[in-house]
């Protein structure tokens, strides 16, 4: 596969009113391997939140692309990340999802590493008849570069990447809109939920900012809400989607460099939002416009592997591609620290109601991804036609809503909910295409240089 082959997968001709993505992008193993190499393993990838490391020597384990890594708080209170694979012969060193440990001992031959990933003991080193060449080697677990934006932790296997603030750009504002809901920031409601689906990881990336599917994929959920509104029973969970009407609600989207995107919408029943209970205090602290943005629904995609959906409740989902047709989702319920018990209980019920592989909405999304993967097994049709809604309405730069937030996106669009914009995906696929193609070219240059 050549860089040109990758570039040919995105039919990007805005002047002709055309934007298409080739169906092989979700199906070909060779493309998946290139994505891992040139996107996941060559740039910033989301790791988790700093609240997952509450004290010295606490850690959690996760992945950067195909590579297991550990994120750890060291004895001197620094957050570090290292590859979770023993220097000796590669065994995974840390086997728990999270915990607290001064030392991580490899279970195979017993090498020991401290909470900064430094090798502190090689079993039987004296007796081992090692050569000087071995002793000169670095035995520490390989360090991974860490970027920390307000407790949102990112890691990069490649050292040579721009600072995290620069990589995030204006999508930072959407992280702020979550973080600033409490003066003390965010926390995770205990209880992560993991599930898998038999489909490509980009199906989740797309769905996370796809306004078009809601009224067809989630009809069973909408039906439940209609009944709830009629019955008015206190025994049922209140939902922000009650009073949903696709023609009266405003919805918009922004795209940003590096593949990031955000979808926003007016909340049909904003009084059901947990922060509505505390709205005046929030507005006083962050200002009226920002506080109103906190009431909006916001679906934020930080490319390539994390999404924050603040619609029914606030979900953080970490996307881990396992194979071209298999993806793991690690999902968390997030909440502003210190919210009232009443708000917290409402939040948890709303979360379980909508999200979770056992909720009223997520299982239908997940099933749809699998249906897409199944339908894409062949090239009988080459191109998807799923990226062209909104093309006649999208505009470059900021609209008045972006200006209200003080951000300068690459594109802005808004309209009624029923617009169901799809231009929100364009920058993501452009970045995806360019990142892989430029990575392939750089690698070829490197090889040629080494060849001479």
């Amino acid at each position: 596969m050549t860089p040109q082959d990758i570039e040919a997968l995105v039919d990007d001709r805005p002047a002709d009113g055309m934007f298409r993505v080739h169906r092989s992008a979700v199906r070909e193993k060779a493309i998946f391997d290139l994505e891992m190499e040139h996107i996941f393993e060559s740039s910033w990838v989301f790791l988790g939140l700093d609240c997952q490391l509450p004290e010295k020597h606490t850690y959690f384990s996760t992945y950067i692309g195909r590579q297991p890594v550990v994120v750890s708080r060291t004895a001197d209170d620094k957050i570090v990340c290292f590859v979770n694979s023993c220097t000796h012969r590669g065994a995974v060193v840390c086997h728990r999802d999270s915990g607290k440990a001064r030392h991580h001992a490899c279970q195979y031959h017993g090498w020991v590493f401290d909470s900064a990933g430094r090798c502190v003991d090689i079993k039987g080193q004296k007796e081992g008849a090692y050569t000087d060449a071995f002793l000169r080697e670095d035995h520490d677990l390989r360090k991974v570069r860490v970027g920390n934006y307000r407790g949102f932790l990112f890691g990069s296997l490649k050292e040579d990447v721009p600072p995290i603030e620069e990589h995030l750009g204006d999508i930072k504002t959407f992280l702020d809109l979550m973080f600033d809901q409490s003066p003390d920031g965010l926390e995770i409601v205990p209880g992560p939920v993991r599930f898998t689906y038999k489909g490509n990881w980009k199906l989740q990336i797309e769905n996370g900012t796809d306004p078009y599917h809601f009224t067809s994929t989630h009809t069973s959920y909408i039906q439940i809400l209609t009944k709830r509104t009629k019955s008015n029973s206190a025994a049922l969970t209140s939902s922000i989607y009650q009073k949903f009407d696709e023609n009266s609600i405003l919805r918009g989207a922004f795209t940003f460099p590096n593949g990031h995107a955000a979808l926003w919408g007016e909340t049909p029943s904003s009084e059901s939002r947990p922060i509505a209970l505390n709205f005046d205090a929030v507005a006083k602290r962050v200002g009226g416009p920002r506080a109103r943005w906190m009431l909006h629904t916001r679906n934020v995609s930080v490319f390539p592997n994390v999404q924050f959906a603040e619609n029914a409740a606030l979900q953080m989902r970490i996307i881990r591609p396992i194979d071209v047709d298999r993806t793991e989702m690690v999902t968390y319920c997030l909440a502003p620290r210190g919210e009232s018990r009443e708000a917290r209980v409402a939040r948890i019920r709303q979360y379980e109601d909508f999200f979770n592989p056992s909720g009223f909405a997520t299982p239908d999304d997940t099933t749809a991804y699998e249906d897409c993967q199944d339908g894409n097994r062949n090239d009988a049709l080459e191109w998807h036609q799923g990226y062209m809604r909104g093309m006649a309405a999208v505009r470059p730069g900021a609209d008045e809503f972006a200006r209200e937030l003080g951000i300068t996106p690459l594109t802005s669009i808004y309209g009624p909910f029923s617009l169901g914009d799809e231009t929100v995906f364009h920058q993501t696929y452009r970045y995806w295409r360019d990142k892989i193609a430029s990575g392939m070219r750089a690698k070829r240059c490197q090889r040629e240089l080494e060849g001479v």
Binding site: F60, R96, D97, S98, G99, V189, P190, G191, P192, V193, R194, F195, T196, Y197, K198, T217, T219, S220, Y221, Q223, I224, K227, R228, S231, S233, A235, L236, T237, C333, R341, R344, V345, I348, R349, Y351, E352, N356, P357, S358, F360, T362, P363, D364, T366, T367, A368, E370, D371
Partner: protein
Amino acid sequence: MADDAAVKSASELLYREALYLDTHAWKDWLDLFQEDAVFWVPTWKDDGEPTSDPQAELSLIYCSSRDQLKERIDRVASGRSIASLPPMRTAHTVSNVLVEEAEAQALRVKSVATTHVYNIKKREQNVFFSLQEHLLRPGQDGRLAIASKKLLLLNDYIPRMIDFYTI
């Protein structure tokens, strides 16, 4: 330990519950629950413990009324949820039933549930297994009914989806 009659009626209720789920006899299943029954499926925390406080921690499913369970049934029965279109075929096996007397005529029943799930659309099968704890209490008509059911799903790395009737 409860007496033989209590053991018999408690076990029978659990088997009946399994049968109603497997035959999609949703209304009969719902009728086994009291009006304010709790149906609770905790999640597992990273420290290896299940969540224990549904008001402060996340659950996979937490319903505290029959009305909420009815919403779940309506969604599956509506034919509009593609995750259950068509509904899965299931075989719930309930075993290791242990019955203890609890307060005020109630029975605490522990059991193991193994549920085989066949996804017709995907032509694929999965197994879910759990530890269950039912609290049974006589309803107004004197018949034993479910006051609460806690289902601790042991294999919670979930392929695609689960619902009240697939676990």
